[in-house]
Symmetry: C2
Subunit: 390 residues, 2 copies
């Protein structure tokens, strides 16, 4: 409750001198400085946030806009919150979490009120309505995710298109020619969830380029029974599928590997499995899975760094898009396809595999991006049809 006035009185100096000591914006003699700092310490002085906001040009608060949808996977979300907060604190910034039911209105209100110095946007959709708010706003926006249109903000993201391409590329390299792509919830693609779509379409693009076939399906309702039914039906219809790329959450991935095993396929001998664009926990599943995870730490740090540069005038307010290369973690769930593979072969009992076939800590391959492949055209994925499993 002690104000700058109290500190000034105790140190026997004027208010402005205290302010200059604390901000360092003008030179102050050594003795005065120490007296002031001592007084501030003794009184536990903490500047009043309201007054600072009102007078100063910084509020030292960032807004984190995190819209919630029915199908949003909470598990992957929170890590982004935490990494953002931790990075912002390094710059002495606090984070206001916007995750209410009326995201758009909340955001407009906050931006107008001058409560925050900038806005970080999570889970960006194609044609996201928040971009209009950014356009009319006096504070800078940084999107974590590629909004397509960066004319009103800066953006940072993982290169999901490349991630999708590399996922297919790795499997193609291993000799697979027909791959099943198991997406997340269909609704999330329909509402334009950007990273899901780019990953999927990157995979389809690479498949087109490599002349391999990719069959697309989405996360079935009804959990284990649903997945098992779905997989059974698809693998019966496409017996030449020898690999699966999963873009669904960790539990569903676990169920997927269980379903595959129950249907009589061994991983990786009969079926290669690769998880892409999810949480990074596939190492801890009972059947560890090769993975290209989300990189919350990397993108959140960059987003905050960029925001600070913009606020300091070191970078333009909009127009840049920074893509981070994906990383690949090997866990032994990918192998060359068996030419003699036959769907519906004798089921292999799970317990027949000895426990030591379970790998220990995941081996981490270096950051890796598709080497000298043709760049994906700006306009997005061309002439690629999304083929869905029936």
């Amino acid at each position: 409750m002690a104000g700058i006035k109290d500190v000034a009185k105790r140190a026997g100096v004027s208010i402005s001198t205290v302010s200059y000591v604390l901000s360092g914006k003008r030179s102050v003699s050594k003795e005065t400085k120490q007296r002031v700092l001592k007084a501030a310490r003794e009184l536990q002085y903490s500047p009043n946030a309201g007054a600072r906001m009102l007078r100063g040009d910084r509020t030292h608060i960032l807004a984190l806009s995190a819209p919630m949808y029915e199908t949003t996977d909470y598990n992957n979300y929170s890590v982004f919150f935490l990494k953002t907060v931790q990075r912002a604190r390094k710059y002495h910034y606090d984070v206001l979490l916007l995750a209410g039911d009326d995201e758009e209105q909340d955001l407009a209100r906050i931006v107008e009120s001058g409560l925050v110095d900038g806005v970080l946007m999570l889970d960006v959709n194609i044609d996201d309505s928040r971009i209009d708010i950014a356009r009319n706003s006096s504070v800078p926006f940084v999107a974590i995710g590629d909004p397509g249109d960066t004319s009103a903000l800066n953006a940072v993201d993982t290169d999901f298109t490349r991630m999708g391409r590399e996922a297919v590329g790795r499997l193609a390299d291993a000799g697979h020619t027909k791959i099943l792509f198991v997406g997340a919830h269909r609704e999330d693609y329909e509402r334009g969830s950007n990273f899901l779509i780019r990953l999927r379409d990157g995979a389809l693009f690479e498949a087109h380029r490599r002349k391999v076939e990719v069959v697309v399906t989405y996360q079935p309702k009804g959990d284990m029974a649903g997945i098992q039914r779905e997989m059974k039906s698809i693998l019966a219809q496409h017996p030449d599928i020898t690999a699966v790329i999963s873009q669904s959450n960790i539990i569903q991935l676990g169920n997927l590997t269980t379903a595959i095993t129950r249907l009589g396929y061994r991983i990786p001998q009969d079926m290669s499995v690769l998880s892409a664009g999810m949480g990074g926990e596939a190492a801890t599943l009972s059947t560890p899975v090769d993975e290209m995870p989300l990189l919350p730490e990397v993108v959140c740090q960059r987003a905050v760094d960029i925001m600070m540069d913009v606020l300091d005038g070191k970078q333009r307010r909009c127009g840049t898009l920074e893509l981070t290369a994906a990383r690949y973690f090997e866990r032994g769930s990918i192998a060359a396809p068996r030419s003699e593979h036959r769907a519906g072969s004798v089921p292999i009992s799970d317990s027949a595999r000895s426990a030591d076939s379970v790998s220990d800590a995941p081996s981490v391959s270096d950051a890796h991006s598709v080497s000298d492949a043709n760049p994906v055209p700006d306009a997005g994925v061309p002439d690629v049809r999304i083929r869905e499993a029936a």
Copy 2:
């Protein structure tokens, strides 16, 4: 960027009149009121947050203190964030997320700065250092979790002691006499993580009362291999264990059921499994598991409601602890023990179980608390030794 001055000018009235129209704290003539509202609308007036804070007695911001530890399970955490934010918005409050690396200092700073009207605390430990901050603070605190000492704040929590008791009670009712309790990370108990300890000790208390034996172990390192080794060793040492209560996260729970299955036990015929105090996703595992989940929505809502009552002077600032009854979700993973059960029996292949043995949507039993059992004494669990597996 339009201020109250602009609105006043446009409406042809004084600043104070505008303020009174907007706050409704003094009567204003109908015509004037309408002119002011029109002007405010046209200028998209949004009051400056800093000025409001400085002059007014409410900032309309709550802090959410969410400390992070090495072993914190992010997955369960974020739901608490979101439910808190959503509830706070109902009262026109925003939420500042404190999740930096120096939780204590951040909290003290925020409280001192007058930036927030109140603080909500997550993941409370026994002897939590944040309680001292609450004691010296001028703003009210509400803990989500039982801090033991409620002399400086109010608290709301799930009744984890009863949850632990009911978990053991249900199994005892079903006829089990020796139960394995698989906890979370040992470090979390050692640092005094409140809900984990209370759940565990509630289980031990009920075991004592019912004269059943509970063997305690903690989440082993090394994921699948570790769990499988651990389970093998424990079940070899204690072949008469017929039920498991798990307090570890969803992936570990999945691995636990897999390990149990691989060791040749069928669930629930040979081994009953029950998950307590975790995320509520055990229904979606390949082997659905009976569950007494965390109830983030319930406790977060109550915490915010209580905070608002305190701010409105409708409730005292400290001293109350509200416990919510746990809920039990049946998923068919509990059965009576087989008297003829033998450890090390012939392994049952996973795939030998038909897919239709996988249950559909979980059946939800009504909110339920242990009926007329002796209440747990205030001092905590008496003369119960925590017996750990070797």
